[in-house]
């Protein structure tokens, strides 16, 4: 077993501390929102999770493009890492958003552009996972996944804009989050702390998942080479 690098251990500790600090501040030191009450506190985690989700997908697309140019396995592993983390956090964002929406919008779900786009994103990257698991040859798996990661990411903004325009004729249930940034100073501090904590957590998770991915890649190589010998 290789020893974990010191930097990664520091990053582990930093993400734990920052997350705990963010939780404490959100629960005890931010004022209650005037109309929404305690449920507004979901907002800090919700936006941070959605942000990390987007970061993950962005990283996946960038690494996929680099893979297609350079053809080094590590970029494929990184792209897969980005997708996995992005999926988890986007789901966290959707669920936490629903929890917030039920009391505030009086519905768990509306087909608002943001909500719809994040749902479509989850579907795209679930499809990505299915594509990966359906391919046995590592080289082909890496190439196809990279092509789909790039193609999928390109269409995300298109989906967002077309849904936003699609919905203009329908009554808009809620005016988005335009009023949200009129925040109290303590709220802003908590918000940015949360955002930082989640971003650090993202880097930490990315690193861990990347290590895991490269190890399983190595293992796969070892297994195929031994299989070759026994033939």
């Amino acid at each position: 077993m290789q020893k974990q690098s010191v930097k990664l251990t520091i990053l582990d500790a930093a993400s734990v501390i920052l997350l705990l600090a963010a939780l404490v501040i959100v629960f005890f030191f931010t004022p209650l929102e005037e109309t929404m009450g305690a449920v507004q506190k979901v907002f800090y985690m919700h936006v941070s999770a959605a942000w990390v989700g987007m970061l993950g997908f962005l990283a996946a697309a960038v690494c996929a493009a680099v893979y297609l140019v350079r053809r080094e396995t590590r970029w494929d592993v990184m792209s897969e890492t980005g997708v996995e983390i992005g999926l988890v956090f986007t789901l966290v964002g959707i669920v936490s958003g629903s929890i917030w929406a039920k009391p505030v919008w009086n519905t768990w779900w509306t087909w608002d552009p943001r909500l719809t786009t994040s749902a479509v994103m989850v579907l795209i990257y679930l499809a990505y996972q299915m594509l990966r698991s359906g391919l046995d040859d590592p080289g082909r798996r890496a190439r196809y996944s990279a092509v789909y990661a790039v193609a999928g990411f390109v269409t995300v903004p298109l989906t967002f804009f077309s849904i936003r325009l699609f919905r203009t004729i329908h009554p808009v249930v809620v005016g988005g989050s335009s009023g949200m940034f009129a925040m109290d100073q303590a709220m802003l501090t908590a918000f940015f702390l949360c955002l930082t904590a989640f971003t650090v957590l993202f880097v930490d998770l990315f690193w861990h998942r990347y290590l895991l991915g490269s190890q399983s890649e190595e293992l796969e190589e070892l297994e195929t080479s031994r299989f070759g010998e026994s033939l």
């Binding site: 579907l123 391919l135 080289g139 196809y144 077309s162």
Partner: protein
């Protein structure tokens, strides 16, 4: 200049091959058409269209039918290449690979047009709306083009996987959603009796999506068929 001519000729050759194959077997378009008819039948009962038909619903049904039929066609077009290793033979041909992509994608587009050509009068008869309308046809031409471009690229990938046919719609629908949205919206506006100029915005968007998907397919196909 000569190279462009050569490229166009290889595209046309591949398109011609697909058309000839289809003419002799009538498998792809036939399957798509019967499927489309069945879909219309089921929509009719599921949505009780006698009483509740609005231009919006009809436009939605038309497009969902077309898109589902299109997926069947895309799967079929790749399955046909898989038999007897036809696709490998195609890849051995000394032509630019993007020409193969364009030829196949154009073939798939054309097959969707043929299906649409049957569907439009049928819809007109069944739901007494006038679908034989220049604007609607333009939207169908543009919408199916973008859909086939994205679909051909993804079908070339999914037919190499274990799940094959099942995977194509899963991969394609979320990616092609913007095309479908714009097409449904534009068709709905036109069926509401407005002019093409009123749907201009959505038609423009369709053109943009078409260009994006065609470029994506063109650039990415090389990576898909590398070996």
């Amino acid at each position: 200049m000569i190279r462009i001519k050569e490229f166009a000729r290889s595209v046309m050759d591949i398109l011609w091959k697909d058309l000839l194959l289809e003419w002799r077997s009538r498998e792809q378009v036939g399957g798509m058409l019967v499927f489309a008819l069945l879909a219309i039948l089921m929509f009719n009962f599921a949505l009780d269209l006698e009483s509740a038909k609005t231009p919006g619903t009809i436009s939605g049904i038309l497009w969902v039918t077309l898109v589902f039929a299109g997926t069947i066609g895309l799967n079929r077009s790749m399955a046909a290449e898989k038999t007897n290793g036809c696709f490998d033979g195609l890849l051995l041909a000394p032509v630019d690979r993007s020409a193969i992509f364009l030829g196949k994608a154009l073939g798939n587009t054309l097959f969707m047009w043929i299906v649409a050509a049957f569907l439009l009068p049928l819809f007109a008869v069944l739901y007494s709306v006038n679908l034989i309308h220049g604007g609607v046809m333009l939207v169908i031409v543009l919408g199916t083009f973008g859909y086939s471009m994205a679909g051909t690229l993804l079908a070339a990938m999914t037919y190499q996987t274990r799940a094959r046919d099942m995977l194509l719609p899963i991969l394609l629908f979320p990616v092609a959603l913007p095309v479908l949205l714009a097409a449904i919206k534009a068709t709905g506006i036109l069926l509401n009796g407005f002019l093409l100029a009123d749907a201009r915005f959505w038609v423009d968007m369709l053109v943009v999506f078409d260009v994006i998907f065609a470029m994506l397919g063109w650039l990415m196909f090389d990576f898909v068929v590398e070996e």
